[in-house]
């Protein structure tokens, strides 16, 4: 910020049509991005007695409920894997995704104050919102490893690369869909009302409480269009050697994620110019 600071020249003109995402600018604002994530994480459990313990309790309680209803009552077949660990291994990536998606969707409206008062690349808001649940995921995975020890499961070598990859994949999907929905939510608050239902339906359309093998072969293709199918199946395969190794279905799922990510970014860029006027 002294004499050696480079001459910055900036041109402001009316935007036209579709425009590409300015990655250089996103990178330049990485500190603000970091601060937004850090704020979300540190504020998350302030003034709650149990604090970060909630990151453990949420999936744990859900798992117990699922085990009773889907495991004991409905007796959903899990190919011999104990239902608690089966559902918990699916719940972890799912909860990360669904929390990220909900946070991202509501993020633009929640940060209305920033949007109308300060300039920054708008895309960092939904992106930052999707990262705080990552901390919950890490905390909750400690229970997963305890359960694996208890049930005598040894993670496969594939989990070394596949687990981070699946988390990244879930994140990419959450950012993609989150960009779409958060931009729409600026204009139509209905989106915010709708998101809990979207998440609920999406969960039952993903192999969280049941294995993907339960879906009739004729519908597997359709099923693969859901990116979370790939994420959760990949997670289970790496950890519990359950289901099929990554194949064509994974590839299709991943492509859908990429498409959502790219179109979400473009759509967001297209809409962002009037955010400050409308939000």
């Amino acid at each position: 910020m002294s004499a050696e600071s480079p001459e910055v020249e900036l041109l402001i003109a009316p935007p036209e049509g579709w425009c590409a995402i300015d990655f250089k600018e996103l990178w330049a604002y990485r500190e603000l991005f970091g601060f937004l994530v850090w704020r979300d994480v540190s504020v998350r459990y302030k003034q709650s007695v149990l604090g970060a313990l909630w990151a453990l309790l949420t999936p744990l309680i859900t798992m117990v409920i699922f085990t009773i209803i889907f495991g004991k009552v409905a007796k959903i077949p899990t190919d011999g894997i104990p239902y608690p660990i089966f559902s918990y291994a699916g719940l972890l990536p799912w909860l990360f995704f669904s929390q990220s998606l909900q946070k991202a969707t509501l993020s633009m409206v929640a940060e209305r104050n920033l949007l109308t008062k300060i300039y920054f690349p708008r895309l960092i808001v939904p992106m930052a919102a999707t990262l705080a649940p990552l901390v919950d995921l890490l905390i909750a995975s400690s229970v997963l490893f305890a359960m694996m020890f208890y049930y005598h499961f040894v993670p496969t070598v594939h989990s070394l690369y596949l687990l981070p990859l699946c988390v990244l994949w879930a994140w990419v999907t959450a950012v993609g869909v989150g960009s779409w929905l958060s931009a729409l939510n600026v204009y139509f608050r209905d989106v915010g009302q709708l998101i809990p239902f979207v998440v609920q339906v999406w969960m039952y359309a993903s192999p969280v409480v049941y294995p993907a093998s339960l879906v009739p072969p004729g519908f597997q293709w359709l099923y693969a269009l859901n990116p979370m199918t790939g994420v959760i199946e990949g997670f289970r395969w790496a950890l519990l050697s359950h289901g099929n190794p990554p194949g064509l279905i994974f590839f299709v799922s991943a492509m859908v994620s990429v498409v959502l990510f790219v179109t979400g970014g473009l759509f967001f860029k297209r809409m962002e110019r009037s955010f400050a006027d409308v939000v």
Binding site: E7, V8, L10, L11, A13, E31, K46, Y119, R189, A276
Partner: protein
């Protein structure tokens, strides 16, 4: 360096365009189809230019004020300049690192501590972590919150809160600074400190664009100003003259000021300064005549008057209780016996209250002048030549040997 060329910003008017829910949008689409060609015709009327064809340049190190009435486009101009909202037409070239300060405390989070909020807010305003760290102590001592650094700001008093917020903003060091009316926060001692800091920034070789309603501050801080009215640039010259023409335009506007009250059964027909009743000389009683039309009788109301000098500083407040008003038209006069105001141009704010309910309140309902005819007080005389706008109430002192 700022070069603004033909900037315009168009907003769409009314709820018919701004759909907050999906249903509205669907309804609107249906309506458009029905209306067909008519809708296309009326399209232009649904638009509103908040800024139109504004061009100016600001050189390096120049400090320029932007003044204008509410809705003149000042804030829109700053928002366009700071890239919060894009222009509809025209272009702007900026050279240098830009920081905009449209509000103090943007991004403050109530749950975070003072220390954490300094970092957070600094990052939002565009400071790097290193810059914040190097100025951290300065910010803390400027805000006078050393003891509460690790307390969540939600426990701060409102004074501490704004002090901290201003302190972070004040330690920004961009090459171009865009400031909206965020000045003068906190108690009067801190306000002075704020204005001092702004003056320091203004004289420190930085390019500053400064939006304010406070004419005294604009005159103190800037040498050149831009006057906006209805989105257009009216004047761009030396601050003193711009302020003068701004105030002159106020005289024309005031007559058309809205007198409609919040209670339809209570109407204000007119308010005027009774010039005929004004005796010549200093500190002679002032009289305002108010004409009301009531649907119900015998209400006790209180009437508040506020008098502002031509720089927009409130000098005097007067309140009177009026009772026994009959239904129908009533004319009342309000006399302010002693006011100590010197000759000059003033504007009046009027408030009418029933109990704690506000029936009417507006600033600048009326402009009036106290003439200097017959003012011969030798003590007052020296001020009348140059500073009559600045002295406020004038009271000769009484001295004796003790």
């Amino acid at each position: 360096m700022i070069q603004v060329e033909g900037i315009g910003k168009r907003y769409q008017l009314g709820q018919s365009i701004r759909h907050d829910t999906l249903r509205d949008a669907i309804m609107h689409c249906a309506r458009i189809k029905k209306a067909g060609a008519k809708a296309a015709e009326s399209r232009d009327e649904e638009h509103f230019w908040a800024l139109r064809d504004v061009s100016f340049g600001v050189g390096e190190g120049e400090v320029v004020g932007i003044i204008g009435r509410n809705g003149a486009g000042k804030s829109t101009l700053l928002k366009v300049l700071s890239r919060i909202t894009p222009p509809t037409e025209g272009r702007i070239r900026l050279r240098g690192r830009v920081a905009s300060l449209l509000e103090v405390g943007t991004g403050f989070h109530p749950e975070l501590s003072g220390r954490e909020n300094i970092y957070m807010n600094g990052a939002i305003l565009g400071m790097t972590r290193q810059e914040i760290r190097s100025r951290f102590d300065e910010i803390v001592s400027f805000a006078e919150v050393e003891k509460f650094l690790d307390t969540p700001v939600k426990r701060y008093s409102s004074g501490m809160y704004v002090r901290l917020a201003f302190a972070v903003a004040a330690h920004l060091e961009p090459e171009i600074l865009l400031v909206d009316e965020v000045l003068a926060v906190g108690d009067s001692v801190f306000q002075k400190k704020c204005l001092g800091k702004i003056a320091e920034v203004a004289t420190g070789g930085r390019t500053v664009l400064f939006v304010s309603h406070n004419m005294a501050a604009v005159q103190n801080l800037t040498s050149r100003s831009i006057l906006l009215a209805d989105g257009q640039l009216i004047a761009d010259e030396e601050t003193g003259r711009v302020v003068a023409s701004y105030l002159a335009s106020g005289n024309q506007r005031a007559a058309a000021e809205d007198l409609s009250t919040r209670d339809a059964r209570f109407r204000i027909e007119s308010i005027c300064f009774n010039e005929a009743a004004q005796e010549p000389g200093f500190d002679k009683p002032m009289r305002f005549d108010l004409s009301l039309s009531l649907e119900h009788r015998a209400e006790t109301i209180s009437i508040g008057l506020g008098i502002y000098n031509s720089l927009g500083v409130r000098l005097l407040t007067s309140r009177s209780v009026v009772d026994g008003l009959e239904s129908g038209n009533s004319k009342i006069s309000i006399r302010i016996p002693e006011h100590h105001l010197p000759p000059g141009d003033y504007s009046l704010a009027l408030g009418i209250f029933r109990g704690i309910e506000t029936i009417y309140f507006a600033e600048n309902v009326l402009n009036f002048s106290l003439s200097d005819v017959g003012v011969s007080d030798p003590l007052l005389q020296p001020y009348l030549v140059k500073q009559r706008d600045q002295i406020g109430a004038f009271i000769p002192g009484i001295w004796e040997k003790i």
